[in-house]
Amino acid sequence: MEHIRTTKVEQVKLLDRFSTNNKSLTGTLYLTATHLLFIDSHQKETWILHHHIASVEKLALTTSGCPLVIQCKNFRIVHFIVPRERDCHDIYNSLLQLSKQAKYEDLYAFSYNPKQNDSERLQGWQLIDLAEEYKRMGVPNSNWQLSDANREYKICETYPRELYVPRIASKPIIVGSSKFRSKGRFPVLSYYHQDKEAAICRCSQPLSGFSARCLEDEHLLQAISKANPVNRYMYVMDTRPKHRMQSWWDTQKDIGRIIVRISSKIWSDERITESDEKKRLNAMANRAAGKGYENEDNYSNIRFQFVGIENIHVMRSSLQKLLEVNGTKGLSVNDFYSGLESSGWLRHIKAVMDAAIFLAKAIMVENASVLVHCSDGWDRTSQVCSLGSLLLDSYYRTVKGFMVLIEKDWIAFGHKFSERCGHLDGDPKEVSPVFTQFLECVWHLTEQFPQAFEFNEAFLLQIHEHIHSCQFGNFLGNCQKEREELKLKEKTYSLWPFLLDDLKKYLNPIYNSQSQRFTVLEPSTVSFNFKFWRNMYHQFDRTLHPRQSVFNIIMNMNEQNKQLEKDIKELESKIKQCKNKQTDDILTKELLHSIHPESPTLKSSLCFKEQTLLPVNDALRTIEGSNPTDNRYSDYAEEFSKAEPAVVSLEYGVARMTC
C-alpha cells in the first residue's frame, strides 16, 4: 500500500476509445491494492487488475484535465481524463509501481484468498496429474520408460523432474546428449500416439558448430527412431525459418574465418608448430560458430524439415503493429486490411498452424516419429508440439484435456510464462505473445471445426486473462524448478478448479464427442481461413461485437431441453405409478392435484418464459439490442443538428457534406 497516495479521484472522464467526437463517461476512480476501479454515473464498474497493466502513459495537459492512457495485456485500453494534474500524477506513479513488481512474492497470487482450506487447495493442485496423462497415452511401455536422470534437476533445470525417454537410451547417452543441446534440453517424449506407436519428441537446438558432433546425441535420436517399430526413419523439425538459419550460419562462418585469418598471423609470428596451430584454430572457430542445427551427414534415417516460424522478437513487434492499426480511430476498411497484412500477424499464425499440421501428418500418414526443436525449445517447440497433439488426439479438445495439454507442453516443459508475459519488472525484450498465438491457433480450429471442441471461445479468453493476471499460481515462474522454489502449491491456488466451477460458461453447446470425423483434425490452411480474432484483440470494445449472442441462447435451450426431458421422464414414471395403483379414482385425482401446482414441468416452462439466462460471460461482452450512439456513424449524424456550414469535411475525411 505504500505506493498508493490517492485512493479516490472524482469527476474523472472515461473516453470512448473509438469515438471521433470524444464521447465520454464521467465517474469516480478508485485505486486499491490490487485493482484500479472506475464507477461511472450509471454505477457500471470497470475493474482493472494492476498486473494486467502493460503500460501507463500520461499525455500532455488539456483544457479538460490530464489524460491518462492505460494499456492492458488483455488488450483493454482505457483513456481517462483526470481533472487535476496532481491527482493524475499520483495515480500515474502508483500504477507504475503497482503494475511492475520486482518480486514474485508481491504478485496477487500470494495474497489472493478465495476462502479455501489447505486440503481444498491441495486438491485443486492435484486436479491435473501428468503421470496420469502419460499413462493415458500408453507410456511407459516396452519402448518408452520414465527416466530419473533429471529427478534433481541436475541435467536440465528447465525440464520437469519426470521425463520419458526411449527404453534403450541409457543414462550416459542422455547426459552426453544434454551437454550437446542448448540449456541441456535433450530430446524427450512429449506425446505418444498409441495406435501408430509413433512419438512427438522435443528438445532444444544442438550446439553443433562447424563440424562438431556428439555421438551420444546421435545415439539418442537413433533410439527414438528405433522406439517406433513401424517406421525406421524419423523427422527432425526445426521450427525456425531456414533462410534465417542460413544467414546466421553464414555470418558465424565469416566471423570464424576472420578469427582464423587474424590468429594465424599472430601464431605464425609466434612460430607454433603446425599441429598445435590446427587444434587451436579449430577450437576458436567452433566457439565462434556456437550453435546451429544438426549436421545431416551425422544422423542416419533422419529427414530434416524446416518450418518457418519467426522468433519471439518478430512476434512481439508484429502484435505491436497489429494493435497500433486496430487502435486507430476512424479506421477505414482498406487501412485495416493493409495494416493486418503489414503486421504479418496472420502469416505468423498460419506458420504455426502449418507446422502443427506437418507434424500431425508425419505421424498419421507416414507413421513416423517426430523430434521438434527451435532454439531453446520452449517457445515455438511448445506451440508446435501442443498444437500437433491437439490435432491428433481428441482428448485435448475437451475441457480437462486442454488443461492437461497446457500443463504438459507449456508449464512443465518450461515455457517461460513469467518472462513472456512480463509478470515481473524485467527485460521487455523477453516479452512475447507466444502463448497467445497458441490460443489463437486453437480458436481458428474451433472456427473450422465448430463441433470438435468441448469448450468455447470464452474458455480460451479466460485462460488468456489468467496467464497475465497472476491471480493463480499456475503460470508464475519460468520453469518447474522455479515454481517449486516459490512453493506455489502451498502459497497460491490453481486456476483449473476455478474454471471448472464455472464450467457452464465455457461449454460448447454443439460439441459432438462421438463423431468419428473429428478424431484427427485436418484443418485447411488456405489463407482465407485465417481471420482477425476480434473477440480477443477487441475483447473490451463492446461496440465492435455482435449485439446478440447465439451461444447463450443455444446453451440455455440445451439446458432446458435436458431439464424438460428429465421432468417428462419423472412425470411419466409418476403416471405409471398411478396407473399401477389404479386403486381408486380419488387417489389418482388427489395425486394429479398434488402434482399440478408444483409440477416441475410447469416450473421449468415458466423458467423458459422468463428466459432465465445463464450468467453471460463477461469476456464475451455481448449485449442484447443496441444503441446508435455506440457506433461511429452517429458521429456524422451529430452534424445533423449543427448550424448550416457551407462545406464541411468531417473528421478523417471519411465523409463530406454540404448544406
Binding site: V333, Y337, P546, I554, P628, A637
Partner: protein, 514 residues
C-alpha cells in the same frame, strides 16, 4: 425459335469435376432445353445431377486426343469441369450449351399490401394510380404512395422535373414517430438552375404531413463534386433556397462499373487457393468490396438515425435512383422496421424496394463475375445489398427470421432463375413480356415447406428495437458462405447448423410435450 433446334447432340459419356471438395461424377450427359443432366448410371447413386443452363456465365472448351474438356463457370461462382469422351460430342455439347444458356426461360407474382399498412398507421399518404399506364415514369410500378395533399397533376409536373420521371415517393413510413423515408431520382436543375414549384410543394407536404415543424434531410448518394458536375448534363441537386426545411448531405456510394470490378476482383482473389497470407490480405484490401459494404451500411444507418433519432424525414437519391438509392432505403428499413426482418416482410421488402421499384435486374445481373463480356450496365448492387443484410444477420443473429440460405437463394435467382420474379428491368417491361402470366413467382417457389429449413433462422425471436450495426472494419467480415462457397469444405459448418436446428426443434418438442 425452338430450343430443340439448338441441341446438337443428345447425349455423351462424361465425367464431372465439381471442385476440390466434391467427388467426381461419371455418367451419361444430356442436354435439354433448360438443363444439363448427368445420370450417373447404375453403380453410383441413382440421383441425377442437374444444372440450369441459364446459370452458366462462361464456357470454355478444350480438345485433346479423342476426348475433350468443357469448363463451365456459373453465375453463382461455381466452376465445373466436364471431361467428355469424343471430340465431336464435346464440340456439339459445348455449342448446345452456348446456344441455350442465352435463351430465355420464364416464370412470376406480386404484392401491393404496403399501402394498407401505411394507411392503418397514418392518414398523411394516399395511393396514386397516376402511373397506371407507365406514362409518367416507365421504371415505377403502376401504383405509388404519395402525400395525400398532392394531386396527380402536381405529381406529373414533379415527374417532369426528375430524371426518368422518378418523382419522390414513399419508401417507408416509420410509425413510432411518423417520419417518412422517400426516394426519387435527381432533379433536372441543369446549368440554368431550373426549379419546379410542384416538386418543391411535394417535399413541403411531406414535412407538413409528418409533424408541424419537422425537418428533412436529402441524402445524395453521390459526392458533392459529382452532383455539381451532373448539372452540366441536365441533372443536379435540390437548391437549398427552394426547399426550406430540407438539408442536403452527400454520402458517395460506389456504383456501376467500379462496383462490378470490385466484385470481379474479389471473386478472383477467392478462387486462388495457393496464395500466401500477405497476398490474400492485400487482394482483399485491393478489391475494396468490404469498403463498399461499410459505406452502404453506414449511409443506411445515417438515414435510419435521421428518422429515429432526429425525427426527420429523409429523401434518398443519387442520379437515376434505381441503384444505390434502393440500397440505402431498403437497408434503412431493415434496421428500423422489425416487420421487414421477418421471412414474409423481407420478401415483401425485396419485391417492393427492388423489383417493383425498378432496379434493372436484367441489365445489372445478366452476367456475374466470370463473364468475359463486360457490358457497361453490369453491377452487383443487389449482391451488395444481400451482403449488407448478411452482415446485419451476423451482428444480430437472433433478429432476422431468415438465414443465410435465403440470401444465397436470392443471389442465385437474381442472376439465373427458373422463376420470373427477377426478369426484366421494370414493371412496365414485365407487363409487356407477360411475365406474370407466363412464369411463376420466386416467392411461391421459396415458400414451399420443404425449403424452409434451409432458409429460416432457427433462433429468430422478434426484436422490436432498431438494430444498429457496427460498421467498424473489425466488425465486418467477408461473406464466406457466398464468396468461398465452392472452395471451402462446407461440411463442418453445415453439420453445426444442423445441430443448432436439432437443438431448437428438440426444445420445441420437449416444451410442447411438457
Amino acid at each position: 425459335m425452338e430450343f430443340s433446334e439448338l441441341i446438337r447432340t443428345g447425349r455423351a459419356q462424361a465425367e464431372l469435376l465439381r471442385g476440390p471438395e466434391a467427388p467426381p461424377l461419371r455418367g451419361t450427359l444430356c442436354v435439354t432445353s433448360h438443363h444439363l443432366l448427368l445420370s450417373p448410371g447404375t453403380e453410383a447413386s441413382p440421383d441425377l445431377w442437374l444444372l440450369l443452363l441459364r446459370s452458366v456465365d462462361s464456357i470454355e472448351k478444350r480438345v485433346a486426343g479423342d476426348s475433350g474438356t468443357i469448363t463451365l463457370r456459373c453465375k453463382d461462382l461455381r466452376v465445373l469441369q466436364l471431361d467428355i469422351e469424343g471430340v465431336e460430342a464435346t464440340l456439339d455439347i459445348a455449342r448446345s450449351i452456348e446456344g441455350l444458356r442465352l435463351g430465355d426461360a420464364w416464370h412470376f407474382h406480386p404484392p401491393e399490401r404496403y399501402y394498407q399498412r401505411v394507411a392503418r398507421e397514418t392518414n398523411a399518404w394516399r395511393l396514386s394510380e397516376v402511373n397506371e399506364d407507365f406514362s409518367l415514369c416507365p421504371s415505377y410500378p403502376r401504383a405509388l404512395i404519395v402525400p395525400r395533399s398532392v394531386d396527380d397533376h402536381a405529381l406529373a409536373r414533379s415527374a417532369g422535373f426528375r430524371q426518368g420521371g422518378r418523382f419522390p415517393v414513399l419508401s417507408y413510413h416509420h410509425a413510432p414517430n411518423g417520419t417518412a423515408l422517400l426516394r426519387s431520382s435527381q432533379p433536372l436543375t441543369g446549368p440554368q438552375k431550373r426549379r419546379c414549384a410542384e416538386d418543391e410543394e411535394l417535399l413541403r407536404a411531406v414535412l407538413v404531413g409528418a409533424r408541424p415543424g419537422a425537418r428533412g434531410f436529402i441524402i445524395d448518394t453521390r459526392s458533392a463534386q459529382a452532383a455539381k458536375q451532373a448539372r452540366m448534363t441536365g441533372g443536379g441537386t435540390e437548391a437549398k433556397a427552394a426547399y426550406p426545411g430540407w438539408k442536403r448531405l452527400h454520402r458517395p456510394l460506389e456504383r456501376g462499373r467500379p462496383l462490378q470490378e470490385s466484385f470481379v476482383r474479389l471473386v478472383e482473389a477467392c478462387g486462388d487457393l495457393e496464395q500466401s497470407m500477405d497476398r490474400w490480405l492485400s487482394r482483399l484490401e485491393g478489391c475494396r468490396w468490404l469498403e463498399h459494404v461499410k459505406e452502404a451500411l453506414s449511409t443506411a444507418c445515417l438515414a435510419a438515425q435521421g428518422m429515429e433519432r432526429e425525427g426527420a424525414c429523409i429523401l434518398v437519391h443519387g442520379a437515376e435512383g434505381t441503384d444505390s438509392t434502393l440500397l440505402v432505403t431498403s437497408l434503412a428499413q431493415l434496421i428500423l422496421d422489425p416487420l421487414s426482418r421477418t421471412m414474409d416482410g423481407f420478401q415483401e421488402l425485396v419485391e417492393r424496394e427492388w423489383i417493383q421499384a425498378g432496379h434493372p435486374f436484367q441489365l445489372r445481373c445478366a452476367h456475374s463475375a466470370f463473364s468475359h463480356a463486360r457490358p457497361k450496365h453490369e453491377a452487383p448492387t443487389f449482391l451488395l445489398f444481400l451482403d449488407c443484410v448478411w452482415q446485419l444477420g451476423r451482428q444480430f443473429p437472433l433478429s432476422l427470421e431468415f438465414g443465410e440460405g435465403l440470401l444465397l437463394a436470392l443471389f442465385e435467382h437474381a442472376y439465373a432463375s427458373p422463376f420470373g420474379s427477377f426478369l426484366c428491368n421494370s414493371e412496365k417491361e414485365r407487363g409487356l413480356c407477360e411475365v406474370r402470366t407466363r412464369t411463376h413467382s420466386l416467392w411461391s417457389g421459396l415458400n414451399q415447406p420443404k425449403e424452409q429449413r434451409k432458409l429460416r433462422n432457427p433462433l429468430y425471436a422478434l426484436n422490436p428495437l432498431a438494430i444498429w450495426p457496427s460498421v467498424e472494419p473489425q466488425s465486418l467480415r467477408l461473406w464466406q458462405g457466398l464468396f468461398l462457397r465452392w472452395t471451402r469444405p462446407p461440411e463442418p459448418s453445415e453439420t453445426a447448423w444442423e445441430k443448432v436446428w436439432q437443438i431448437v426443434t428438440d426444445s420445441e418438442k420437449t416444451e410442447g410435450s411438457a
